[in-house]
Symmetry: D2
Subunit: 347 residues, 4 copies
C-alpha cells in the first residue's frame, strides 16, 4: 500500500498520543513529523515511554513550512485559537488537514464567536466539513479541511441523529446528560484533575455553559430541519476514558421501542462503527475502550412518547483520534476501517 | 446520657456495617445485639477487621424474641420481604423499629405490590412513617415504625421537594438522572460487581425499571398535591460510595435562580443536614462521603423555565444508615445530629 | 499468509478473552473454535459485548475430538488439573498445544505434586517446554506441548535471568515483592474481588504460600546451575491489569549499575519484547498495558553488592495470552512479533 | 473539659485538612487559627467544601506573633525548611509545637543536612522529641517541640521495633518495600499525580534515594543499639490513602512465628493504636483508613530465619495528622485516644 506522509501537530497531549498510537500501525500512513510546544527535540518515547521502541521519533524542530513541504496530510491536535492560526498556512502549501480543535466545526462564524472568541480564518468555514462520517461521509471524502467533532457532540449527535432526521424529536425537549472520563480534560496539570481530587468521587461541571452545546445543536438542527435546543450537563467520572450520554427526548409521534430500533438500524446500515445493541442490553464505556465504536441502546416509555437513548464512545478514540483516522481514511480513499481494527481493550 | 439498647438485624451488609460504625460511637446508644444470617456466632470484627478492638461482639445466636426482650429499638438492615416477616414480632414485643428495607415505605399497599410482591403486614403501612426527616420530622418523633427511605429517593426527593411543595414542578417533566457508587448494590457477590467489571467503566442499569421510582413519585406527589411522574435512570460509577442526582424539571412559572435559591433556603432552614451550596458551586459526592449531608445546587435556564438541580448524598450514610440514626435521634428525643458529627471523609 | 486453524479451550475467562482479542487480528490465525464450560452455545460477543461484530462465533458444543479433528493448534486456558485431563487427547490427535495452566510447567513431577496435586500425565512433562521464549526459544520452536509460564514467574524470571546465568545471584538472597492487578485472579466471582472490597485499598496475600514460587525457583536454578530460593510475596493492587515485581538480591561479586545494564543489554539482545529502560527511568505497569513487553530497570547500592530490579508486565498479555501467541508464532515459524504489534494502551 | 487553643500552620494541604477534621471534633481543642500561604482570608470551607458549616473559619491574615500570642499549641504542616524558619519564634513566645515536617525528626544535624539542606535551628534538635509515641511516649509528654514522624518511617519502624529492641534483627538485612496512596505526595499540582497518569497503574519511585530512609535507620538503630541499614523502596498505588510496608529481615536467631507474635504482643501492650492481627490474617490498608491504627501481621519461613512483617497505616492519619493529635494528647495530659475514636472508614 502506498503510504501517505502525515504530521501530527500537538502530539504530546492525550489526543495526540492516541493519534500516534493509531497512525504508527496504520498500513497507509507514514508518520513523518510530530510536534510539541513543550518538548521540541525530545524523543516522543521519552515523554510517552509506553511507545519506547515503537515511536522514538523526536518532536520536530522544523518550521511549519518545512513540515508542510514534506507531508500530505496534517492532523492538528492543539487548542482552539492556536489551530486556526496555523491551518491556513498548511492548506496554502497544499496539505489536507484534519483539525481536532473546535475552530472549524461551525458553519456560522457568529455561533463560533459567541461561544469561543473572534475567528481569524472565517473564510475557511464554508469549505470545512464537519467530520462526523456517519452524517457527512461524502463531503469528508472531498474535504481539504475537516473539523473533527468534539467528544461530547459525537456521542450525543450519533445518539439522536436518526430521531432528528425522522422529524421525531420535539425540538425543545432534548436533554443530554453526559458522563466523561478524565482524559477528556486533556493532559493538563490542574489540581482539580489530580488523582486525590477525582478518585472515588463524582461531580457535574459547566452546567448549562459547556462549549460543546452549540455543536450538538448545529448538527441536530441540520438533520431536523428546525432549530433543536439541547440542555447539556457534563459530568466527570473517576475513570480514564469513555463517555456515556443518557439522552432524553420527547417524540413528536408515539413510537414503540421496536419502531425506533428499526429506524436506527436503517440509519446506521453501512456504518461500521455504530453498534446498535440487542434488545435488553445496555452499553458500557468499557466495551468501546480503545476503539472507534459508538454503542447505542434505546428505551421508550409505556406511552411511546418519551425516549431514552444510551450512547457510549471512547472520548479519545471515536471522540477524537479514532474519528480523525476514520476521516483520514475517507479523504485518502482507504477503507473506512483501515488501521482501526484493534478490538476494544477489555477487561 | 441514658443509653438506649439497640439491635441491628442484618449487620453484615454494607448498610449494617455503616450503622454499626455510627452506633458504636453514638453517645445515646448501647449496641446490644447484632445479627447476620451468614455468620452467626462469629465476632463482628472477624468479618470486618476494620472494627477490630472496637466491635468484637459476636453475631447473636438468639431468637428474635430473645433479642426483642432486651432491646428498645431495632434497626432492620435486611432485604425487603424478609423485613416484613420479622418486624411485626419486634413491634408486638414493644420495640420501636427503623426498617432500612423497602417494606414500610409505601402508603398504599397496591403500589408496593405492583413493584415488589405481596405484602404480608399491610396493616402496619398506615402507621409506618416515611423516614425522611426533612419532610416528616414530627411524625418520625412519634413513630413506632419508620420506613427508612431508599438511597436514590433520598437524593431525588430532597433535591426537588421545595419545588414540588411550591407547586412549581410541571408534574410530567421530571427526569432524575442518578449516578451511584457500587456499595449501593450491597455486599453482594456478583460478577457484574467485581473490580475488573466495574473499574474504569460507566454504565446505566434498570432503565425505566428501577423500584425506587414509585418511592420518589409518592413523596413528590404528596408534596405537590398532584401526581408527579419521575423518569428515573440509575447509573453505576466506579467508586465505592456516593450518589449524585442530576434532576431536570420544567417550572410552571418562570423563576430566576435567585428566586429558587431563596425558596430552597427557606424550605431547609432548621434542617442541619441539607447544605445549599453558594452560587457558582456544584456538589461533589466526595464532599459528603461518610456523612449525613445532602448538598444541593441549582441552575435555571435563561428563560427561567427549566431547572437543573444537583443533589449529592452518601448512599450508605444519608441514603441508609446515617438517616436511620437521624430517625432514631428524633424517636428518642435526642438532638437530631447526635452521633452524626464526624466531618465528611476527605480527601 | 497461510492461516493456522486454532481453538481456544476456556475462552470465557480473562486470559481466554485476551487470547481471542489477539488471535482474531492475527494474520496467521483462523479462530476455528472457542469453548466455555459455562456458556456453551452462546455467542462469544454475548458474554463479551466489547467484541460484538468482531467475534460473534458461539462457544462450541462439539466434543474435544471433533474440535481436534479440525484444528492444528489448541490453546488451553482452563484451570490446572482440568488442563492435563484433556491435553493428552489433543496431542494424540496430532494437535500442538499451548497450555496456559500450570500443568506442564514443571520438569519434575514431584515439585508439581508438592504444590498442586497428583499429576495424571507425568509422561508428558519431559517433552513439554517451558514457554518463556527469552530462555527457551529454540525448544519452543520444536515443541508439541508448551507450558505457558505463570504471570508472576514471567515477571520475576525475566527480571533476574541475566544475573542468574552470570552466576551473580547469591542463591539464598532473592526476594520477589510483586504487585498485581485484579485480573490476575481471573474472572472469578468472589467477595474479596468485588469492587468495594478492592477499591482504594492494598493488601498482600498468600505470603510464603503462593504456587508460583517453585516455578520461579525452577527457572532461576536452571540458569544459575545451583538451587536458587525465592522469597515471594504477592500483593493486590486496585487496578485491572499489570504486575510490577520489585526484586532484591545480593550479588556474589561487586558490580556497578553500568556493568549490570550491559549484562542485561547483551542477554536480551535480539529479544523484541524485553525493553531495558534508559538510566534514571523506572517502569510503570501502565507502559506495558495490553502489550507483550517486559520493561526492566535496575539499581545497585553504593557498594555494588545489592541489586534492585524493577520488572513490569501486563499479567494478561506477556503474563498469559500475549506470551502464548509469542510461543505460537515460534511454533509456526512466524515472526515472533506477529499479531503482537499493537502499542501499549495509554493513557 | 478545658479546651486548649491551637493553631494549624499550613492547613490547606492534605495533612492540614486531616488535622482540621480531627481537631474540630476533639473535645479538648479549640481551633483558634488556621493559616495558608495560598488562600489567606478565604474561608477554610471554600477550599474544602466538605467542611462547609463545620469549619468556616477563614485562613488567618495575622502575623505569626499575633497567632502565637493567642494559642497554646501550634501544629506546623508546612514543608521542611519553611518549618524551621518559624518554629523557633513560636517556641520563643511560649507555644508548644508539633511539627509535621522533617525538620525536627533527627538527633544529629549532620544526618539531616546530608539528606535535606543546612539546618537553621540546630540548637533545637537536642530538645526535640521524635513523636512516635509507641517508642517515646514519656519524652513526648514533656516535650516542648515534637518532630512528628514521616509516614513511611511510622509504618516501617512500628513494624520492626520489637525485633530491633530484642536484638533479633540482622542489621544489614532489612528491606522495606513500601506502597503508598497518592495523598502521600501532598496536595501538589503535578502531571505525574494527575488522575490519568496514576489510575490503573503501579510504579516505584526514588529507589534507594528517598529521604525517609535515614529516619527509619535512626529509630531502628536506636532500638537495636547498633547501626541498622534499611533498603527502602517506595511505590505509588492508585488509591488515595494508605501505606502498606512489606518488611523483610533476617533474624539473628531462629524463632517461630508464635515466638515473634508473643514478642510483638508484649511490646505493644498498652499501646492502643497498634493492632496485632490474629494468626492467618493479613492487613489491608482499607482497615485503617481514616484512623490512627497500625495493623501488623508477620510470617516466618520454615527455618525460622527470615521474617516478613506486614504493616499498614493511613498515611494522613497515623502517618501524619492522627499521630500529631496523639502527641498533642500526650503533651496535654489527655487520654491518648481522645478525639481519635472514629472507627476506620469502610467500605
Amino acid at each position: 500500500m502506498n503510504k501517505v506522509k502525515v504530521a501530527v501537530i500537538g502530539a504530546s497531549g492525550y489526543a495526540g498520543l492516541e493519534l500516534v498510537r493509531l497512525l504508527v500501525r496504520h498500513p497507509g500512513c507514514d508518520l513523518a513529523a510530530l510536534t510539541s510546544l513543550e518538548y521540541p527535540g525530545l524523543p516522543f518515547s521519552q515523554i510517552f515511554p509506553a511507545l519506547a521502541g515503537i515511536v522514538d521519533l523526536p518532536f520536530s524542530q522544523e518550521s511549519e513550512e518545512e513540515i508542510a513541504a514534506r507531508v500530505e496530510v496534517v492532523f492538528t491536535a492543539i487548542p482552539h485559537q492556536a489551530a486556526m492560526g496555523i491551518i491556513p498556512r498548511f492548506l496554502a502549501q497544499g496539505c489536507r488537514v484534519v483539525d481536532l480543535s473546535a475552530d472549524f466545526r461551525f458553519r456560522e462564524v457568529g455561533l463560533y464567536e459567541k461561544w469561543y472568541q473572534a475567528h481569524t480564518a472565517p473564510e475557511l468555514l464554508e469549505e470545512a466539513v464537519y467530520g462526523l462520517p456517519e452524517l457527512h461521509r461524502e463531503e469528508v471524502r472531498q474535504a481539504r479541511l475537516v473539523g473533527n467533532p468534539g467528544c461530547y457532540p459525537t456521542c450525543v449527535v450519533l445518539g439522536l441523529a436518526p430521531l432528528a432526521q425522522a422529524r421525531l424529536l420535539q425540538p425543545d425537549s432534548v436533554i443530554a446528560d453526559c458522563k466523561s472520563g478524565v482524559s477528556g480534560a486533556g493532559r493538563q496539570v490542574l489540581l482539580g484533575l489530580s488523582f486525590c481530587e477525582v478518585n472515588d468521587g463524582f461531580r457535574a461541571y459547566k452546567v448549562l455553559e459547556h462549549r460543546h452545546t452549540p455543536e450538538m445543536e448545529q448538527e441536530l438542527s441540520g438533520l431536523a430541519g428546525t432549530p433543536v435546543k439541547v440542555t447539556f450537563t457534563p459530568h466527570l467520572v473517576p475513570m480514564s476514558r469513555g463517555i456515556l450520554g443518557t439522552l432524553y427526548a420527547k417524540l413528536t409521534e408515539s413510537r414503540s421501542e421496536g419502531d425506533l430500533r428499526e429506524l436506527y438500524r436503517q440509519f446506521y446500515q453501512g456504518h461500521p462503527f455504530v453498534r446498535l445493541l440487542p434488545p435488553g442490553s445496555l452499553p458500557d464505556t468499557r466495551n468501546v475502550r480503545g476503539a472507534n465504536f459508538c454503542d447505542l441502546a434505546l428505551r421508550v416509555d409505556e406511552e411511546g412518547r418519551r425516549v431514552i437513548v444510551l450512547s457510549v464512545i471512547d472520548n479519545l478514540n471515536k471522540g477524537a483520534a479514532g474519528q480523525a483516522v476514520q476521516n483520514f481514511n475517507l479523504m485518502m480513499g482507504f477503507p473506512e476501517t483501515l488501521g482501526l481494527e484493534t478490538p476494544p481493550f477489555a477487561p
